[in-house]
């Protein structure tokens, strides 16, 4: 039984069809990253799941129970917001305690003065205090407990928000770009923390981001959503190395994958410069248009030789541990990007004519509708599995 | 024990007076308790409040109504007829309520109240300015011509000094002082014709015009005129004697304040309107009515008058009070400023109240047209005729 399952969720705002039948299952303890460009409907999906918005159609099952019409408060879902949404008037400790107070104390007990006089109140309150302190300790924010959000840095706020979400052991954990307000260094650090926390808590998590590096580095599985549809849901490796759709390949990978328009030749082969691949199931007719994709790290640039595609270096981007080379293919008027080490890049400079070769094992072929066509290097046909060994 | 709720207007004048009277009254009548409702700032606001409250639980048991609004109140059957009460009471005349005094608070023969504070218009003057202008303060002007002549000289003193402040604002009272003083009337006997635009009225308006033209009377608002006079910047002020006490206080010893009788356009037959208010019983509760009657008599009686007169400047509404040394006899000897009003008492006739529902509007029309003369935007004849036409329109057509 999956911990969470979304069945065919549809949602329109006004005339805009935002979610086009999204289906997704998460196993117990699984960390799923939901990535996609801005505006593709990620937050909307999360909000529907949390019960903050209602789907036009489709079902939501949490731990097997139909929760489609349940009230947000009854779903036992925790959410971390992009803005953290901490209560500005409460201290960190009070913020973290809110979900516990709301769930464990009856309304009468929550009354300002009367509440204190009810039997068992002390115990209940002490329990909450203990849980808050434990949670804070595990996120290393014990020293912040008395501060209000206004007195905390972005990273600290984010941790308090995490603590507030985790403290009540939710059945599902949702995060909507929780790191996007942090600066780059902090972001990398926070990633680790969230993964760690997730591992310890074991709560199934849906993590929304538009940063593909986050998605790849954190998730058990990555769901790529584009234009309101889930195009692929798979492990980071598979998403990166075996994208099933041209949009997935385009969205994942930095710098972006090189995409070159091409045609299927006779014998169901495709060619990128001298490199050739054959379509495995030969489904595409000769002459039909396809798109070839090759990631920058699989493009090699050489100043010598006359093999490969002739190109001219347009621009070099030095990034410290690597150099991005923008090469102009004058013949077809396109730019191809290669990623090389600083050592390899040392003798390259703008304007220099070079030859580009693509690693045949890493060429993706996409049909006109964007779906992936199985292909193999022509020289030695190997099964796809072997490639990822 | 009976509790009476008493409402009165113009607390600035009457608060202390009322407090004194009620304390004394309660001393003498321990079984009656007086409590005051919130007072109203003016007669108009007072009557409004009463009309709003008429018939509700909020209605006070006793109120004090401006003499010229008694008719309006009566048309709405608000006051309790005092006729039967007076009839039962044998000693009215003994207590100083002469027929003339009683008449002041009658509407069409019905006794709707007892005059409480009565006033007439007098002349206040700044003896220092009169002297500076070459006049003799001990011989104040007796005619309007003299006023105008001396006023012009005072005005000529310069330094921002004005000649005359004639209190034409607010209502028709001071206009009627001129009109009655010339022997005129507002309406014909049967109230079917407007008569204030007759020769007497014309004289009245022409006088105002002359005050402006010849004596340089400025356009004052009510308060501005008052303030200028007490600051010593105005030679003559013509207004109710009721303002005397406050004027004395405001003047202090800044200058030598004097009063005199107001000149009359017809020194022979001229009359003067009676300002002031009457105590009116509102409660229809039998038990309360008795107590209320007691209080009304007490307030309007010699004791009340002996408090009101020195406390304000109103003239005694009660003949006993005026004459008896027990009450005010000595007061007048010691306070010559108060004598002007007293001397004019024989000339007092009721403040004319217009018939019909537009009474207040009529007075406003007269005020508005007077202001046109004062600010010289109309000739006296134009203004008077316009006023007459408008008033004709406003009177009940029957």
């Amino acid at each position: 039984m999956s911990a969470l399952s979304l069945r065919n969720i549809e949602k329109s705002f006004g005339g805009n069809h935002i979610l086009k039948g999204v289906t997704l299952d998460a196993g117990p303890g699984e960390f799923i990253a939901l990535v996609g460009p801005s505006g593709c409907g990620k937050s909307t999906l999360l909000r529907i799941l949390a019960g903050l918005e209602t789907a036009d159609s489709g079902d939501i099952l949490i731990a097997g129970r139909d929760m489609t019409a349940a009230h947000a408060a009854d779903r036992n879902i925790a959410m971390v917001f992009q803005s953290y949404a901490l209560y500005p008037h409460l201290t960190a400790a009070q913020n973290i305690a809110v979900p516990l107070v709301m769930r464990r104390l009856t309304r009468a007990r929550r009354l300002p003065f009367l509440g204190r006089m009810m039997p068992g109140q002390r115990k209940a309150v002490a329990d909450i205090h203990r849980d808050v302190r434990d949670m804070a300790a595990s996120l290393k924010i014990d020293h912040l407990l008395d501060r209000k959000p206004g007195q905390m840095s972005g990273g600290q706020r984010q941790r308090v928000a995490l603590a507030r979400a985790m403290v009540r052991r939710p059945s599902i954990f949702l995060m909507d770009e929780p790191l996007s307000n942090l600066d780059a260094n902090l972001r990398v650090h926070a990633r680790g923390e969230i993964v760690d926390l997730h591992r310890r808590a074991g709560v199934p998590t849906l993590y929304v981001t538009h940063d593909q590096a986050e998605a790849l580095s954190m998730a058990d599985r990555v769901a790529v959503m584009i234009g309101g549809s889930l195009l692929q849901l798979a492990s980071p490796q598979v998403i990166y190395e075996d994208p099933q759709h041209v949009e997935v390949a385009k969205f994942i990978g930095q710098p972006r994958i090189n995409l070159i328009a091409s045609q299927v030749e006779d014998g169901a082969t495709v060619a990128l410069g001298g490199t050739r691949c054959r379509l495995v199931d030969r489904a595409a007719a000769a002459g039909s248009a396809v798109t070839l994709g090759i990631r920058p790290e699989f493009v090699s640039v050489s100043r010598q030789g006359n093999e490969g595609l002739p190109a001219r270096i347009e621009r070099l981007e030095f990034l410290g541990s690597e150099v991005i080379v923008y090469c102009r293919l004058d013949a077809i008027g396109e730019t191809m990007v290669a990623k090389v080490t600083p050592a390899e890049g040392a003798d390259l400079s703008p304007g220099v004519p070079v030859r580009l070769t693509a690693d045949a094992r890493h060429i993706f072929v996409f049909s006109k509708d964007g779906s992936r066509l199985a292909a193999a290097p022509l020289s030695s046909i190997v099964t796809r599995e072997a490639l990822h060994g | 024990e009976t509790t009476l709720t008493v409402h009165y207007p113009m607390p600035g004048f009457f608060k202390d007076v009322m407090d004194t009277i009620s304390t004394k009254f309660m001393e003498e009548n321990p079984d009656i308790k007086i409590q005051f409702a919130n007072p109203s700032a003016t007669y108009e606001e007072g009557i409004q409040t009463i009309m709003r409250q008429a018939g509700t639980d909020e209605m006070p048991d006793i109120t004090f109504i401006g003499l010229n609004r008694l008719r309006m109140a009566d048309e709405r059957s608000i006051p309790v007829d005092m006729g039967p009460l007076i009839a039962k009471d044998a000693s009215m005349a003994e207590q100083g309520f002469s027929d003339t005094i009683l008449k002041l608070a009658q509407v069409n023969g019905k006794q709707v109240g007892l005059a409480f504070a009565t006033s007439n218009p007098i002349m206040y003057y700044n003896a220092d300015l009169v002297k500076a202008a070459g006049g003799n303060p001990d011989q104040p002007p007796k005619t309007w011509d003299e006023v105008i002549e001396l006023g012009a000289r005072i005005k000529a003193l310069g330094n921002g000094v004005d000649s005359v402040d004639f209190r034409w604002q607010g209502d028709d009272w001071m206009f009627s002082a001129l009109l009655f003083g010339a022997g005129g009337t507002m309406l014909s006997e049967d109230e079917s014709e407007v008569t204030f635009n007759g020769p007497e009225g014309q004289k009245a308006f022409q006088l105002i015009d002359r005050l402006v033209k010849e004596a340089g009377m400025p356009v004052f608002t009510k308060q501005a005129g008052e303030q200028a006079f007490v600051a010593g910047k105005v030679g003559f002020a013509f207004q109710t004697t009721g303002a005397l006490r406050n004027t004395i206080k405001n003047v202090g010893d800044k200058f030598d304040l004097r009063t005199a009788e107001i000149p009359l356009l017809d020194p022979e037959n001229g009359k003067l309107p009676t300002g002031g208010n009457a105590v009116v019983i509102l409660t229809h509760d039998e038990a309360k009515q008795d107590a209320a009657w007691k209080f009304a008599k007490f307030a309007a009686g010699p004791y009340g008058a002996s408090v009101v007169v020195p406390g304000t400047g109103y003239v005694p509404n009660n003949e006993l009070a005026a004459k008896s040394p027990e009450y005010l006899g000595d007061f007048y000897k010691e306070n010559p400023l108060f004598q002007a009003g007293l001397k004019q008492m024989p000339r007092m006739i009721p403040w004319y109240a217009f018939p019909g529902s537009n009474g207040v509007r009529v007075t406003q029309t007269i005020v508005d047209n007077t202001s046109r003369v004062v600010d010289q935007s109309a000739t006296p004849d134009e203004a008077l005729n316009d006023a007459a036409d408008e008033v004709k329109r406003l009177l009940p057509r029957s």
């Binding site: 009856t106 | 303030q227 910047k233 935007s377």
Partner: protein, 311 residues
């Protein structure tokens, strides 16, 4: 201890959990708005309805019965010179007080905003008139405006200017009242503008300077004025409403005089209703007054809203 174990649905609250979440939300919204709605109904809508109803009668205070007279009151309004006069006076008054108090407040707000010291002093000084008690202030103004002993004219005299008879002359009374009106409302507008100014991002001014807006005026035109659009719209709305509602100063200082030179709508209505006691007629005036306000607001929104930018 039993309640500790209460299920999480224990906070279901007063709202039954039926229907779709949308319906639920709408229902809660209704419940939350209900008290306000009820009170608006009781204290605004119904009385206004009553006033509209009375406008068709000849009801007079003090008389118990009345009859329906249809549109008679409205017909009378058409040739009521006092009413026309007061319409005109109100228009003049609002026409002076609204723009002057807005621009004065804006200018002062910008000066205060630019100045480092004494902010709270100035804020308080200019706000004080808003908190003033008119019953008493009327006396003060009476004195300040006094034609012969007033400080204003005394000051003018030292410059050799003969001061006008501020409240006494029909030619100046409306302007004098306008001065008091401005005095009373500048502080209110000022505070609103101060708030609006603090909300303008500093970077826009930096951008304007870099873009070559050298003078303060250029920066005002380029940044301040447009960015204050929403505030100005609000301030204008409130100012128009308040200046059309002028009453207290007229009542306490001039009683509409001299010769109706300072008759304004609310005063005329008050006079008709409470002094002349013609409630029916006054009600008809009130209806016209409210209609004018509604139309005015509608027009103002149509005109100004189009030019206002909301960020």
């Amino acid at each position: 201890m039993a309640d500790l174990a209460a299920p999480s649905t224990g906070l279901a609250g007063t709202v039954p959990r039926a229907g779709t979440p949308e319906q639920r939300e709408a229902r809660i919204a209704w419940l939350l708005a209900a008290p306000a709605l009820l009170l608006v109904l009781v204290f605004i809508i119904l009385p206004v309805a009553a006033v509209i109803g009375l406008g068709f009668t000849d009801f007079e205070l003090g008389y118990a019965d009345f009859r329906f007279v249809g549109l008679e009151n409205y017909a009378e309004l058409f040739d009521d010179r006092t009413f026309q006069r007061s319409l005109w006076n109100t228009a003049v008054y609002a026409g002076i007080v609204t723009p002057v108090s807005i621009f004065m407040a804006l200018g002062l707000a910008m000066l205060i905003e630019a100045e480092g010291i004494g902010r709270s002093f100035f804020r308080t000084a200019y706000f004080l008139p808003v908190a003033s008690l008119l019953v008493a202030m009327a006396t003060v103004w009476q004195y300040l405006f006094h034609p012969s002993i007033g400080p204003i004219n005394a000051m003018l005299a030292t410059f050799g200017i003969p001061g006008p008879n501020w409240l006494g002359a029909s030619s100046t009374v409306l302007y004098s009242l306008s001065i008091i009106g401005v005095w009373q409302s500048v502080g209110f507008n000022l505070v609103l503008f101060l708030a609006g100014l603090t909300a303008i991002p500093r970077e826009l001014y930096a951008a304007a300077e870099v873009d070559g807006a050298k003078s303060g005026w250029d920066r005002f035109r380029l940044v301040t004025w447009p960015m204050l659009g929403p505030t100005t719209l609000f301030v204008t709305t409130i100012s128009i409403i308040n200046s059309v509602k002028v009453f207290e100063t007229v009542k306490t200082l001039t009683e509409g005089g001299p010769n109706k030179a300072s008759e304004v709508l609310l005063f005329t209505i008050y006079q008709e209703g409470f002094v002349y006691l013609r409630v029916g007629y006054a009600s008809a005036m009130t209806v016209v007054f409210l209609a004018i306000l509604v139309v005015l607001m509608f027009l103002q929104y149509r005109v100004q809203d189009r030019q206002v930018h909301y960020s």
